[in-house]
Amino acid sequence: MAKKIKYRKISEEMEKLATPEIKNSRVGIGFEDKVKEFFLINVANLVPFKNQARIHFDEKEIINLSESIKKHGVRQPLTIISCENHKGIFEVISGERRLKAAKIAGLNKVPCIIVHDRNIAQEIAIVENIHRQDLHPIELGLAFNILLEKGAFGSQSLIADTLSMSESTVSEYIKYTKIPEEIRNILIKQGIRSRDKLRKILAEKDNLETIKQFLGLTEVKKETKSFSVMRINILNEELKFQLNGVEKLNIEQKEILKKQLLKVINEL
């Protein structure tokens, strides 16, 4: 058989049309659910998510972030959902800090992933923020409440499963939301997140004064003045005794001290 193909030189125009490439372009039908496509959205069209879990934004941190955005751009797209009543407007589910920072950095458009299901949106808002692990336990508790009210999750245990937390932790965080709002805001702003402290405050939730004392917000009254009675230290393997406080005790207190010390002696 005669060879039947003649090859000719490829022109520049043909090369432009035909050179294969894999671009990060929008996908066709069939796997759009599997691909997180992102869009560049005008910052003026982005508003905070109604059920935003984060309450407190640290301004310094946002300034730092905006510096980084100036240098490197927004590296991770925001997640947004279209606003129910305003065409063209989107609520920011996750990435509000990035949005604030991008605005400061002077960006007009930011990369966004658009989700369509409101329940999923809420889930994303929580999950993304939790996985970044800097939400305050009270902010989490408030968000969990919203999730339950909105029916995004049927029960606390479902939330626990989704977030890989224990159910008791979820239920405890929800209890924290019963702390009066004034106190809650102080706790969040000051970053007080030790569980012991939060539990103590929760136990006294109806007793504002006591809570304020826990937080050192009221002056300590004189009656509760404390001093050290005795201290025993080891310094270079040598026992050091400081017993000056004993003199300040009254007779009853001395009796109590004796009994306690005897117990200690018996155990030695």
């Binding site: 125009e13 043909m14 049309l17 671009k23 069939g30 796997f31």
Partner: protein, 321 residues
């Protein structure tokens, strides 16, 4: 050419070409076995029935019969590249060569059904198989020995909206049709030129995608988009890449654009091509569609169309084994 004169049968020369043996081998086999031609005439013009021709070719040729990659689509989302014409020729001639072939018309325009002579508005189609609880065997129509067809008509367009509401919507054809592999050597699907859920189903289903591509600029640009889309589909569906066989079609020796297009194909897609091969533009292929007769039934001696189709079929058998 008048269609009245076309007899559904093969001459000795065409049997020889399809088998890859000499004319005399065929002629000797026919004499030894007292095989009778359909009509009387000179030996050059005698035609033998499809059933006889299949047996003769099976007996005299040593063509590989162990086909592993049975499921194949003729695909492209560029229109007018010749998918249906090529699918029609490949399906009919594979059947004449003794394979058992199922041709599935997955194009609502139903041109494959038309060429195979089974185009009816009230036919049941893939739509009824997937959405209407019909069994494949109730939909399949026999064309002639070795060739069956699942026909199509406009009702197939309804499949698209139904598919989008079904779970595992890219896998429905595989779920419904995979068992047919045991009954056939080849399952060939003709597609319509879109990227649709139906076509996603087909890509998901097949082993090999035969991409029919014209040797001209839009077609090469379309090919680039198609390859990118396929790459992404395989990646995001988490499936193995389907084998790709690019078939350059409507090549014209005299035009420089065809030659340039062939150079583009060679430099970018040589892994997916039969070397130095294209299906040449020819009136025979167009006539074949017009008269709804495969080339073998009417092609003259030394028809370039039949020569190219036979080369293509041999390549397809090779990559399918």
């Amino acid at each position: 050419m008048k269609t009245d004169n076309v007899i559904n049968g093969l001459t000795q020369k065409i049997m020889a070409d399809l088998s890859g043996v000499s004319n005399s081998t065929i002629s000797r086999f026919i004499t030894e076995n007292n095989i009778v031609a359909i009509d009387d005439g000179t030996q050059r013009n005698l035609r033998y029935s499809i059933a006889n021709s299949r047996n003769i070719i099976k007996e005299v040729s040593d063509i590989n019969r162990n086909i592993k990659k049975k499921k194949q689509a003729f695909y492209n989302f560029k229109g007018g590249t010749g998918k249906t014409s090529i699918c029609f020729q490949v399906a009919t001639h594979l059947a004449m060569m003794g394979y058992k072939v199922l041709a599935i018309d997955a194009d609502p325009q139903a041109h494959l059904s038309l060429s195979l002579g089974v185009m009816k508005e009230n036919n049941m189609t893939l739509y009824d198989l997937i959405c209407g609880n019909q069994e494949a065997n109730d939909i399949i129509v026999n064309i002639y020995e070795g060739l069956d067809c699942i026909p199509s008509n406009l009702s197939l367009t309804r499949l698209e909206t139904e598919l989008s509401n079904i779970p595992r919507r890219e896998e429905r054809i595989k779920i419904e049709l995979d068992y047919l592999q045991d009954q056939y050597d080849f399952i060939l699907l003709d597609t319509n030129p879109t990227i649709s859920l139906l076509n996603r189903n087909i890509i998901y289903f097949v082993h090999i995608l035969n991409i029919v591509c014209e040797t001209q600029p839009y077609s090469l640009n379309g090919l680039k988009l198609l390859m990118e889309d396929l790459e992404k589909f395989f990646h995001h569906m988490g499936i193995d890449k389907r084998e790709i066989n690019i078939i350059p079609n409507k090549y014209e020796d005299r035009t420089s654009n065809s030659g340039e297009a062939m150079a583009v194909l060679k430099s970018f897609y040589s892994n997916f091509l039969k070397e130095d091969f294209a299906v040449r533009r020819s009136e025979d292929i167009i006539n074949s569609s017009k008269y709804s007769k495969p080339l073998a039934f009417f092609a003259r001696r030394n028809s370039i169309a039949l020569e190219d189709i036979i080369d293509l079929i041999k390549h397809i058998i090779k990559i399918s084994s």
